[in-house]
Symmetry: D2
Subunit: 336 residues, 4 copies
């Protein structure tokens, strides 16, 4: 049996999840929705996804441009087992999904309260088994959990201080700035720390954040106090065995987020996405009683495999998180 | 018979030409060279290219990092029919290639005088038939020829004024600026006009250029006076039938170079490259006696198919330029 | 008698005009308005300007922050001879000013139709003599007129093609992008050409425009066909004698807009503004039948002296435009 | 008696120190040097500084451009009591200064070992009394000391973790990138922590750093563990009483480094410099056992007043650091 997945909102994240779902053998994309006849709509059709209008009103817009739609969101939901919501935050589709009786996954732009269940495949897959509504945490939160959860499990974590240097806008988003400034999140703690705690409530973490004029990746500078005395190699070894972490090295010419994205282009992935968290091997150092490291987050794609795993957990087609992750990662080219 | 192609310099352009050559059925990559054990070297090996050290000295550097090389550039050239030079400009490999008795292709960073023959597949393929040394013109020059040659052929061109808004650095190149400035090329004409004339000596063209803080594409704003009175549709129709031009539309949400690159990511091309010149359909206007249009150039890849065609012309495995272009484009996914 | 000037909207442009007016001996700032208790409001008070709330509603906002206001806009207008509108475009204050019976000056964000009279001190000062409502044209339009009017007057102009490379946002404006893209104005002609013609209706000009990720200046690349054959020196000599043009040289290290702004910082001007249009002496070339040149526009300040002159013309305190400009420029440090 | 100060290297920092020295009543600029006839050389002359060629060879370059020099560096040093070195780092002028028998001040680009004495006016003025060679620490280090020293003095500091988000290049420097990337300093600790300890050897501090595509300011995100339990207000009160700290507020519209620089423009300072460290009042929070805050550093100017104070200490014309700072700050407009 193949799980029937609807994608509501074929944008930055929706289109990536669509492709990821389509690449798995136990689920399929039965349709994607769009509100406007943009180039992304055309590309969805070119990729062969059954195409639906997000609402009655938008049907006309597509017709005007000669784009045929298979129906509306409601028609799509009727046939779906589960819907992945890729719409802008706070669009309030929950009632629609409930009425249609489909399970639903939201992204990290939504608040934890919407579902009461925030998800990361490594940290709390089991909690999502059979669940109706799940929120996959944001790209930054996912990034933090990917490297912190293994540290917690292996060594125990006393305290984390993370400074997030965030990209100002996604590559396609030309309206948002800043062009030449650094903008701190004045509220301390920033929302990222508490957001990690929706998945790892036991973690003592503090975060601050600044926005900078770049489009390609977020970068985190972290300080972690562990419960055990460890060496830098101990830490690297734990991450080596953890899923969805990719080591990069300044020594090999990867000095910044730019060269990481260049390497991703060389890796033949779909859309040159980097689903893994990139950790600098030679930027990881245990100094005194603390571990310091840098990691970079491809904000457009690191949550994509998590969405696939969430589908498996919610549909209970795989009970073991490691097996689901392995399956997802093989299909996406993360493992080979 | 498959043409044996060596790639000297597996960088921004070399790696793309390697992949493009490998995708054709009448030529093959017999090896690539590199001077340093960077991530790009690792990626070359991962992609399965026979790997050579650029020089005796660099052999040791690779050995130190546990990277095995098949030999040096000299060893590689011995087996090659033709070498594509992807090294930084003015590296002076000409004597080496002559001594090895291989044909050679250089990129547009070199001067016309190096080969005496500058190349564009559409405009002067025939001149390269059987040639030993060819220079494929630069990304900007290639972009100008792609749209101007059809206009010249169909309507005749009286005068061209092109302002090139150039990206400051390639995406991976984090050393070069500017971060927040616009820098004009004070010399007028800029070198681009005369460079077009190395291929189209009959064209009356004037160019100016400025450098801006972006990494993703060049953009050209052009004014063209044609020899015949034409409508905007006449022009669009001619380009519709011309190779390696892709129309984009502001109407469909493609407002800037950023959305063009986003669309390219959606197109499943290798490295999300855009080999075509992107022309705004709704940015093309005949006003009074002049044609105005904007085009965007993916500086890293538009010359890639031209290199493949140059190989065919020089090796005389295809005498008809349209057939070579068609073959190249099918393999690269430009046509389908 | 000193002209009583009200400044409605103490923002990017309003604050600069306030300072410029205050520096003249025949006019004075009787008050400035603001809608919100921002740092700019505090700075207005620190500079000693009588401070007014833009509306009844905003009075409370200031009181909450302990900022005392002298009254509202209406109170201010009662005492004013003339008001300079520095509010965001299309705020629709015209009726308010009419009701108060004060003359008014708007900025170039408004349409020509609002006043029917668009102004540049050099080109059409006389038309504004005694006028009630005047629109000072935008920074880009002012820049074009500054260099084109002298060419028109001295040599006659057949045709102008101007490509405007525009800054994406002002330095303080961190909301607007693009961060990494070039965005053309697909409509051709862009509005700039017709806007120049509101002041110089006899000029045959065509313009295109692109937006780039910089905050500091606009840059124009121009091609001009003159009615007479001239040398580069002829052109430079005419500009040498024209007001509000400043020559810069690549030879002396001024290679981009960044070094122009650095030089402006060294010039001890208020806010390090550059009221003049910066023209590259060694970027000016007569080639064939055309003149090519580059100019840079400090978008925040080049219209400031024009506003001062407009006040003089409208109040008829000076009938001779050259005398007004001279007086303005001495006070602003443009001439010494 | 007025101290005779020579400025060797009239660039970004040299020109600012020249102006600052010139604004004091107990010291004077007896000359500045330059190696090339750039616009900065012209500006030095325009500002009225006696102008010297940096070396014999450069004399000719100035003569060629019609710029008269008063002599060479050697001639200048002969008359000087003290020289401030504003040359690029590692230029090795130490022997020259020793031979000339003048005291000398270097900037933070040099290593501590050059002088054995690193300086901050607040923290260790006394150590510089009568010294021959002093190094004023870098802009970032100065920024850290400005806010940390008062915390240390008042509350005691257990541990500091500072993440420095550094501007990629100065505003005038268009050669350096990155244009679109974030680049971490992979070495941990970065050099900033140890550099603070050259002045405050007793401070337990750890620093990491990243470079981002902005030109205007550095921004620091800090976490500080104090020896006493304190409230946010306690901390703000201490800084309120400390020299060269300026509070800014997000509430008042200062959301990023861009609005800080806009405010600086409104403050009528020379070159719109901001000598103070800007600390966000509403970005300062005591959470749990730690203090978190953000500060922004105007990299071009925060060390300027420190250089003036260093001159006073070394020449022993003022023994009390608070008095020297007060005098400096009044002349520079920091206090009024």
């Amino acid at each position: 049996m193949s799980v029937k997945v609807a994608i509501n909102g074929y944008g930055t994240i929706g289109k990536r999840i669509a492709d990821a779902v389509a690449s798995q053998d136990d689920m399929e994309v039965i349709g994607v929705t769009k509100t406007r006849p943009t180039y992304e709509a055309k590309m969805a059709i070119l990729r062969g996804y059954p195409f639906y209008a997000a609402s009655e009103e938008s049907v006309g817009r597509f017709k005007d441009k000669g784009i045929e739609v298979q129906g509306t969101l409601d028609d799509l939901l009727e046939q779906a087992d589960i819907v992945v919501d890729g719409t802008p935050k706070k669009m309030g589709y929950k009632e629609t999904y409930e009425k249609a009786g489909v399970k639903a996954i939201w992204q990290g732009g939504e608040k934890h309260e919407l579902t009461g269940l925030s998800f990361n495949a490594q940290a709390n897959y089991d909690e999502a088994l059979g669940a109706d509504y799940v929120r996959v945490v944001s790209c930054n939160t996912t990034g933090l959990i990917r490297t912190l959860y293994p540290l917690h499990k292996e060594f125990g974590v006393k305290f984390v201080m993370a400074v997030m240097i965030r990209r100002g806008a996604d590559p396609w988003d030309t309206k948002r700035g800043p062009i030449n400034a650094v903008e701190p999140v004045l509220k301390v703690p920033s929302h990222h720390g508490p957001d990690v705690q929706t998945v790892m409530p036991y973690l003592n973490i503090q975060t601050t954040a600044v926005k900078v004029p770049t489009t390609i990746m977020h970068l985190h500078s972290l300080m972690v106090r562990l419960k055990r005395e460890v060496s830098t190699d101990d830490v690297l070894n734990v991450w080596e065995d953890s899923p969805r972490i990719l080591f990069v090295e300044g020594e090999e010419g990867i000095k910044s987020t730019a060269q990481i994205m260049e390497m991703a282009k060389d890796m033949c992935r779909n859309r040159t996405d980097l689903y893994e968290i990139a950790v600098w091997r030679d930027g990881t150092h245990v100094v005194g009683d603390s571990l310091y490291y840098y990691q970079a987050i491809h904000q457009e794609s690191d949550v994509v495999p998590e969405n696939v795993d969430a589908i498996r957990a919610m549909m209970e087609i795989e009970k073991d998180n490691m097996k689901s992750m392995k399956k997802t990662d093989l299909a996406l080219g993360i493992e080979c």
